[in-house]
Amino acid sequence: MIAFILRRLLQSIAVLLAVGLVAFSLFRYVGDPINAMVGQDTSMEDRALLRERLGLNDSPPLQFLRFVSNAARGNFGLSYRTSEPVGRMIFERVPATLELAFCAAIFVLFVGVPMGVYTGLYPKHWSSRLLQTVSLLGVSLPPFLLGILLILVFAVMLHWLPSFGRGQTVQIGWWTTNFLTISGLKALILPSITLGLFQLTLIMRLVRSEMLEVMRTDYIKFGRARGLSNRAINFGHALKNTLVPVITVMGLQLGTLIAFAIVTETVFAWPGVGQLFLQSVQFSDIPVMAAYLLLIALLFVVINLVVDLLYFVVDPRLRSQGGAAKVAGH
């Protein structure tokens, strides 16, 4: 178990280094950073001096090492666009994105899983078929269109919910939260649905097919033969056996929710890192892009690590020796 966690940590670091290399190459090969920093009338000598001072004449491995050690301390340099420290720009906006992704994930989990269980238990009931059909819509509707439709209905026509922004937020330390004001909570609803609907239908379909499979197994039949109640069978025995694949997908989806909040944040003018990233791309603001890349990679790695640890909680077969190999196979 400990060995497994250590191995996973090493793997995670390797992944982060690889992504770091990509981010680092952005600086080196996407245009000349000196050009981006100085005006057109700077003399060649000044440029050379600056190049020397910034260490750009050092060997690439040494520069990479410096980049990594700076990144590890949260130092990503200054934005080309605003000349603010990139780390601070990102951290100011991370809470907005994380809270949005968190709400979307909650929506996915607490609506998608029960819907999946229901359609899996009663696959032939008309309401299951209806859910199945509606879920097709969820899969095929692009988020920007869905977002605009939701804005049209709930903001423009009904005036129930705001169409953009975070509403009022409360500052707790460096973290700004939506959860403590009514307008903040209301502002979360539409973006969360927009961001989560696709994942919701995915999770629902996954849980459904897993449930259908588990319900056919011998231990479910034996559970019935032992006279267990339907509740014990459906939720105690069946649902728990669907959890391993569901946790895997849910983990990946959470990463995706954060990484692909870009579209939703744009539609709802949500001041998160996705929107920041999009602006940075428009201005070729490479330090911000590199930092964003690393942040997303870090989140994916952390989530996957948590997912791997959750397997151990769910499945006793993995807790015994040699179980780690099986996890890797998932």
Binding site: D218, A225, R226, G227, L228, A232, H237, N241, V314, D315
Partner: protein, 339 residues
């Protein structure tokens, strides 16, 4: 055995199980009737597809859809159970009728310790506190011969061997001291050396608890060793039913004779084991008359048109015209078969 004088524990009368399919309805169990007395072991043998497992599943009310009981009745202790609503039948399952399935490797939920599964079953049926239920679970595990039960109770299914898991399954079936256990091929998935242990265990426990067993298997050896009476099934019907000694030593139905002839016995020199030519007909192609007639060596013309029901034949009853006063009819000529 004197058990036959007691009122029956389980009565199955004219049971029919059918499967609606796209090409029409298949009758998988056709007019099957038998009794099981309290404490009696009834063996049910037959080839795959003879309808023996379906009969067992129909009794415990767990036919897999679209299979359904199309006729007849099942009575447990005089009370009809085949038409009970699901929730009522659920209280019968586990409490009055225990079940053991073929594969112990897949019968247990891999995510819960065996202790938890035992306690869950016990508390479903008996009004016991958690600690009392755990005590009972422990006793059951000791009874089925799990060594070091105190430690093993918190282990998970994957930490047990196949034979040990089947012992746990038996303990689970016995949780609420049922009157009847339907054991569907309980040893088929196990090693031969383990099979004998499991059968001996089942036999001993049922004697001690005075539990009746419906032992479904295709292994005639297991039946001969364990059962009090045997029912031989063929193509969804009972071909012969009677005390185990009579059925094994003096089979009355040509099919049973064929079955017995195909089993090697120790101490007897066999030059060649006999075999029954052909295969059991598919449910869609059951011939008119006796279902066994195309493979039968002693058939007559009557066998090809008229279906025999069970009739007295010595101590047993057999579904064969040989035991009817009218006989099998005129011998079948070659031309008739070709026509």
């Amino acid at each position: 055995m004197a058990v036959s004088n007691n009122p029956p524990l389980l009565e199955v009368k004219n049971l029919r199980v059918e499967f609606p399919t796209r090409r029409g309805t298949l009758l998988a169990v056709d007019d099957v009737s038998f009794d099981i007395a309290p404490g009696e072991v009834l063996g049910v043998v037959g080839e795959s597809g003879a309808g023996k497992s379906l009969t067992g599943n129909a009794i415990i009310g767990l036919l897999e859809p679209p299979g359904r009981i199309a006729g007849g009745e099942v009575k447990l202790e005089g009370r009809r159970i085949d038409n009970l609503p699901y929730e009522e039948m659920r209280k019968v399952r586990g409490a009055k009728i225990g079940a053991i399935f073929q594969d112990p490797l897949t019968s247990l939920n891999p995510l819960y310790s065996i202790g938890r599964q035992l306690v869950e079953t016990i508390q479903t049926h008996l009004p016991l506190s958690a600690s009392q239920a755990r005590k009972r679970a422990l006793d059951l595990l000791k009874e089925v011969g799990i060594p070091g039960a105190e430690n093993r109770i918190d282990h998970y299914p994957h930490q047990f061997s196949g034979g040990m898991r089947q012992r746990v399954v038996i303990a689970l079936a016995l949780c609420a001291d049922p009157r009847l256990i339907v054991a569907d091929e309980p040893t088929t998935a196990l090693d031969v050396s383990i099979q004998a242990q499991i059968i001996a265990l089942l036999k001993r426990l049922c004697r001690e608890h005075h539990t009746a067993v419906m032992l479904v298997t295709h292994d005639m050896g297991v039946i001969a060793e364990t059962a009090d009476r045997v029912a031989v099934m063929y193509a969804g019907r009972i071909a012969e039913i009677g005390p185990v000694r009579d059925v094994v030593k003096q089979a009355k139905h040509p099919y049973t004779k064929g079955l017995m002839g195909s089993i090697p016995s120790l101490g007897v020199r066999h030059d060649k084991l006999t075999q029954i030519d052909g295969a059991m007909p598919r449910l869609t192609e059951i011939p008119p008359g006796c279902a066994f007639n195309p493979r039968c060596t002693v058939r007559g013309q009557r066998c090809m048109v008229e279906r025999p029901n069970l009739m007295s034949a010595g101590a047993s009853r057999a579904a064969c015209w040989l035991h009817d006063r009218g006989g099998v009819g005129a011998p079948v000529t070659k031309e008739l078969v070709d026509a």
